[in-house]
Symmetry: C2
Subunit: 595 residues, 2 copies
């Protein structure tokens, strides 16, 4: 099927005189997870990872992705023509750099400008410039190959109450208008889906696991306009909410026209890092003198969680702690009783337990329920058709999360289901040391993720081991499970970790064909105190699920790490106690024994 699609695409390339085609891995909003309509990279290649770019030339079909997906590439694209180009490895070559080297003099490359950001298109433009290459922007060129392509989603919008957001949409709009005034701007085009949803306190089910709304938001001085599928705003409650904050609604596709009719002197703020090229070009044509391309201020503001959101997170992790105590107890007892279970059975049981906690919306991403060697794929996604049975031996890794109305979770636990090898115990312990190293960090204001990421790695590095993904990502509040602006990784990136930021702490260790370990807590950056040496920050751990101490090689822990593990498990036990049955209490007491 893939080879037929490639052949059809190459016929089009020949007809149009294109020397290369970029099939982007995103949507018009630079989203990470995509509605079915915009899964064109998956359509052409079969690759289902959340990150990847395809470049097709007459003689080459390349897919660029990062370390998370190398093993998945081999599994999913075996037997196809596709060649893997590795990113986030030493001497990685970006797709535009590769194209710049391979490109014929005076050649033509076709892009879908509606699904590539301004910044991304610029990379390609500059790369082919030395060869006098030309870019052709052909939005939705994939349509010709994809007759049954899905339309834009029409799931209803719902309003996330102020009791959960802690801040009204009216207040957020007033804040944004102050930002506009501060820069002398008249309006802002909000393009990132989670920024639109956050600004208006609205949510929807357009994308699996990510309750954003497919929409653009134009904020002007006196009014705001939401551009979205009109079916989505049919409910009276949503209509009242939007009217109350002075927000009009227009069809999704009307955004181009609206930008094209703005008064020519409008100082319009857009963020070219996420805005798609097609709409940016439209704005630039209309407002050649007054278009302002600068990072959106909403990204950081949204990342600094308020107290209501933080308490919502805490409640969500408390619920997940109860859920996972029940889940792991059930799993252990079922296996002991000889019940046969698959990875999907465990994932489904957890959803059932989460739902029972109330105020549950949906999972925050597709659960990674992985037994044995499957856990060596950091982003393994079991399906009903292809998943393993879970056996009473080795390590079982569960990376999952839920959206509750009051907050979202993202948690990974690796638990022993039976006898372990020495290597499994050692890897388990070293990864745990890393997670503790970051969680207990203290640092002065101004410190960036790249400055402290090593604290989660150094115990592994000293044993000549490493993991190929970042250590931590920001997490949204009933929004995207991965959100900026901060992250914790080796790449140098100039964003400080600030009070109010909620970030994951998830080192891991993966041995292909053997096992995988990942421990993931979510940590909140908080102010500690100020003194002559600085303004000191540290982390509060929000996650409230026990860490099984039985695989730990105690001699590998420092006294500080031992103390941390014991007091964390004690804290979990005490917090969960009021919500557990006597049977569950006894079981959890056993799982939180001191080391």
């Amino acid at each position: 099927m893939i080879s037929e699609r490639l052949a059809a695409l190459r016929l089009i390339m020949q007809r149009e005189g294109w020397d290369a085609v970029i099939v982007p891995g995103s949507d018009p909003h630079s989203s990470e997870y995509l509605p079915a309509r915009w899964q064109q990279r998956q359509f052409i290649s079969g690759f289902t990872g959340s990150y990847g770019t395809v470049v097709i030339t007459p003689s080459h079909a390349g897919l660029w992705t990062d370390t998370r997906y190398f093993i998945q590439f081999d599994k999913e694209l075996a037997g196809t023509e596709f060649v893997l180009h590795k990113l986030r490895v030493p001497d990685a070559v970006q797709p535009w750099e590769w194209l710049g080297q391979e490109f014929p003099e005076g050649g033509v490359v076709c892009i879908d400008g509606s699904c590539m950001s301004v910044a991304e298109v610029n990379d390609y433009r500059q790369a082919i410039a030395p060869r006098n290459g030309r870019l052709v922007n052909r939005p939705d060129f994939i349509d010709e190959l994809w007759p049954d392509r899905p339309g834009t989603p029409d799931d209803p919008i719902w309003v996330l109450d102020d009791q959960y957001t802690g801040r009204s949409a009216a207040d957020k709009l007033a804040w944004l208008r102050r930002q506009l005034a501060g820069r002398g701007c008249d309006a802002m085009l909000v393009n990132s889906l989670d920024e639109v949803a956050w600004m208006l306190n609205i949510r929807s089910a357009d994308i699996d696991f990510t309750p954003v709304v497919i929409a653009y938001l134009l904020v002007e001085k006196e009014r705001a306009i939401l551009f979205t599928n009109l079916k989505k705003t049919a409910s009276p409650a949503v209509g009242r909410h939007l009217a109350a904050i002075g927000c009009e609604v227009r069809p999704y596709d009307a955004i181009t026209d609206a930008i094209g009719r703005l008064p020519v002197s409008t100082k319009l703020w857009v963020d070219g890092n996420t805005l798609n090229e097609a709409l940016y070009e439209c704005a630039r044509e209309r407002l050649p003198q007054t278009l302002v391309n600068a990072p959106s201020p909403i990204r950081l503001e949204k990342g600094l969680k308020n107290d209501v959101e933080l308490n919502g997170f805490r409640r969500a992790y408390l619920k997940d702690g109860i859920v996972q105590t029940r889940l792991f107890k059930w799993l252990e007892e079922s296996l002991a009783a000889g019940v046969r279970l698959t990875e999907m059975d465990v994932a489904d049981k957890q959803i059932e337990l989460r739902r029972a906690q109330g105020e549950y919306v949906e999972e925050s991403f597709a659960p990674i329920s992985a037994w044995g060697e499957n856990a060596a794929l950091p982003h393994y996604e079991p399906t009903y058709e292809a998943c393993s049975e879970v056996h009473a031996k080795g390590l079982f890794l569960l990376d999952s999360g839920g959206h509750y109305l009051h907050g979202s979770t993202d948690i990974t636990r690796t638990i022993p289901l039976g006898p372990l090898t020495d290597l499994e115990r050692e890897d388990y312990t070293l990864v745990l040391k890393g997670m503790i190293g970051l969680a207990t960090a203290v640092f002065p204001r101004g410190t960036r993720g790249a400055n402290i990421d090593v604290l989660a790695r150094i115990p592994l590095w000293k044993a000549l081991r490493n993991f190929g993904h970042g250590t931590g990502h920001g997490t949204g509040h009933v929004l995207c499970v991965h959100e900026g602006p901060q992250d914790l990784r080796q790449n140098v990136y100039d964003q400080a970790i600030l009070p109010g930021m909620v970030t994951s702490d998830e080192p891991g260790l993966y041995r292909e064909g053997m096992h995988g370990v990942r421990h993931e807590n979510v940590i909140l950056c908080r102010e500690l105190e100020k003194n002559e040496f600085g303004d000191w920050l540290g982390f509060e751990t929000l996650t409230c699920t026990y860490i099984d101490p039985s695989p730990v090689v105690v001699e590998l822990l420092t006294q500080e790490e031992r103390d941390w593990l014991n007091s964390y498990n004690e804290y979990v036990y005490i917090r969960l106690l009021p919500n557990l049955t006597d049977d569950e209490k006894r079981w959890l007491r056993r799982k939180t024994q001191k080391v």
Copy 2:
């Protein structure tokens, strides 16, 4: 005196119609330490620190410098009109940013383009552009105020033998010509003084503590030309050396003319990060189409030490280990005998001991010999006129280094001279933990200084303490004690730490009015091994001077740190043994007791 000079400068500003004047803190070669001729910033302000920029306007005299020199500013510039502008602090405002804010519409700023790099001038140019400001380039405008300004130095050049450099100048020239060919260039203007000296294996005494040669080097395909004061090349040995490698000699000032007469199609490589604006402008006028501005490849090549250089470093640290054993023994015994000694006496004694080791050239920087609260100034420089007596109590800090023909050293030890406070012992221990944390790091190839700097800080950070300088700098081989391209600090900077790089590891802790602690070893990055997880690197400690264990608060050390300290001191003892008298051996044995 400072106020008279400022008044005279402002009269000139009025006459010329300048609204601001930049007095740069460097020379035509972007050097850190300067010959007397180019100490114009010190001339106008009185500030003697190694880093600082002065901006004068009719109503303001500002000096910009970093955390190392805040206390020194207060001491040296008290009573003058100068205002300190702090750099390397949160929300620091660079001098060009300040000027951009304060500048009058359509104003004129005068620079000395012969002593400012292209990159630096561009910062100013861009900052005043929004106000339609104009730059006037007036090389040596300071001459009018400074009638007895010293001339260009004329100390003789000498040749550093291949037995010390491990690589002939002919080989280095051939290497550079391959780099030129790889970029399609015809010639390179080498501008950094240490790059000139390294390329040709020549040294001189033009700058105190830094045996570089004030010169430019033009490397063409068939010949090279050294532009320097002709008195410097008078010796027949130097003449023979240069002739043998096809290097002509011309007067220093002839460089401008030589650039101005290059064939107009010459593809000339210059490095605008260090090349001065005046010469760059000259090159750009002559070669508008073919000038290539890119980082010099010599910087990294010079930073990756060869085996001969590394063995030279090891021998140098061995000599310094003997020197410091003798020095600290002498100091302790002198004080016990009631001898009165000043900080300068200790520094002078060390020079005497270093000289006795043979192949000694000079100190590698002005020694920081600091007792008690003086050590709280990280870059304190005692003088005969202004230095303290050393007493048999508290901490004494000695940061010094020597150039030997085979290698250079840079070492700091903080030693107890009598009873210590609990705080002194705690600070001493925490700083030591930091130094060990970095020295024992293991990391995959590609790791940058900013990624591992925290390992030297985290023990201090956890106690809410910090130091305001970088953790480590590269050190030159019989060249500049501070050299790039690598460094170890928080700032994100995209240079990996690579095998062959020699870098200092020098955390500290400073309490104004109380005490200062710094421990500094120099560490060599080496390959460890490769495996499935990466290409692993680590450090070898080159420094071979004992670390006094007596102030250590043992409970604050992990077992790993305790083991490191004990085995390091044991290593030092065993290495030095063959060179010590029986009396010295007994003394050193006491100083290297296990904790």
